[in-house]
Symmetry: C2
Subunit: 212 residues, 2 copies
DNA sequence: GCGAAACTTTTACCGAGTCAAACTTTGAGC
DNA sequence: GCTCAAAGTTTGACTCGGTAAAAGTTTCGC
């Protein structure tokens, strides 16, 4: 880290170059319409090299996953004393939103990012796989803390559902063309509603069925 | 339906033949180790025909999804008056378990079924995609009933999490070699714990951190 | 039985991803 | 500095999932 060395620097530069070239092409023309060979050529590199850095084509686009995973894991593991995981994540989501972070879902991560993502089944599949990895990470943290494997898994799943649903809701509206600023303002209540449901349960929802 | 006709009967027979041949090969040797061409040959049919009936290779193995989806959707949509979706699904899971249904997770769906599933990333990915379809189906039903899009999506997600987590828990134990009968007995409490969490919330879980 | 519609096969093809061997670049030690 | 080994890249050939189009075959309605 102190002295990266020429070798290491070149590697990072190449990786970044490939990623940038790929992302650019995807946003211009869509994920499925760009081949890996094409990306390699545009980046002045061989196809094999692309796969050296990014094992799957989808990883070329979804290359921020490791960061997101680490961040969310840390939010739960390193939460302040006396704060539940649910509460810690709720605050984190609010913080992401008010800081305008792309992963709040309410801000476009570059124009067309959500469009590229949602219009490719392969990308969406990988996206959901990453969400599952988040749930697994939560499970590990909670299980280590409590020793209760199943309960940890359930709570991790519920928390992850809150995060991903909040996110998907915002993304859906953005893709549908809703004004980003409006979506963003309304997301505050959405986040609270989601975490309230996880924290206090769905109860008898929906009330009022058949005239109750 | 009344008169299937020769054509239709042949189609169903071919479909079943392909599915059976494929499943057999998968269980013998694993999903990734069997090619579609091989399945076609073993079934005495062309590769194209295989893809005619099963658009994706994964569908050859996970061909009960449509039934499962319809059943779960019906459980929520057609639940008795005065019963919440959460309660309806809880009862349904108990019923599946006590009837020894494979989808309770506690029973092996044929020897090696879970092994085939868990040892193939591609299959697992498709499996999780199917779980998402379940969540979407729940969302539709609840949204139609209540008109509250986001809340419906959240509740649908939480309910689906309960189902899939209960299932994954049992499957994990079976794959790990736990005795099926023991797993089955303990699943009763697991189901209730899962649905209790969804119904009443995770609260401040985990309690007791840092001496609270 | 005849013709159209439905189903299957053939053939050719594309793109993701793997493998192994040759080649180039970097870095470490003398 | 020079050399050699290791790391990284390229090449080319290959496998497999999946698609497309056109040419058979089989079934069904009349």
């Amino acid at each position: 880290m102190a002295d990266p060395g020429l070798r290491e620097r070149k590697k990072q530069a190449t990786r970044l170059l490939i990623s940038n070239v790929a992302t650019g092409l995807f946003i211009q023309r869509g994920f499925e319409e760009v081949t890996v060979a094409e990306i390699a050529e545009a980046a002045g590199v061989s196809k094999m090299t692309v796969f050296n850095y990014f094992p799957r084509k989808e990883d070329l686009f979804l290359d921020r996953h490791a960061d997101r995973l680490a961040e969310l894991t840390s939010v739960v593991r390193d939460r302040p004393a006396g704060v539940s995981p649910c509460e810690a994540l709720r605050r984190h989501q609010h913080a992401l939103l008010s800081s305008g972070h792309p992963l709040s879902g309410a801000i476009a991560g570059g124009p067309g990012f959500w469009w590229v993502l949602t219009s490719s089944p392969a990308l969406m599949a990988r996206w959901y796989e990453q969400e599952r990895e988040i749930a697994e990470a939560f499970t590990s943290v909670l299980a280590e803390e409590t020793g209760d494997a199943f309960r940890s898994r359930m709570v991790a799943g519920l928390l992850t559902t809150a995060i991903t649903t909040v996110f998907a809701h915002a993304m859906g509206r953005i893709v549908a063309g809703d004004d980003a600023e409006v979506v963003r303002q309304e997301q505050v209540a959405v986040i609270d509603q989601a975490f309230d449901l996880v924290e206090h349960g769905v109860g008898e929802f929906p009330q009022g069925r058949y005239g109750r």
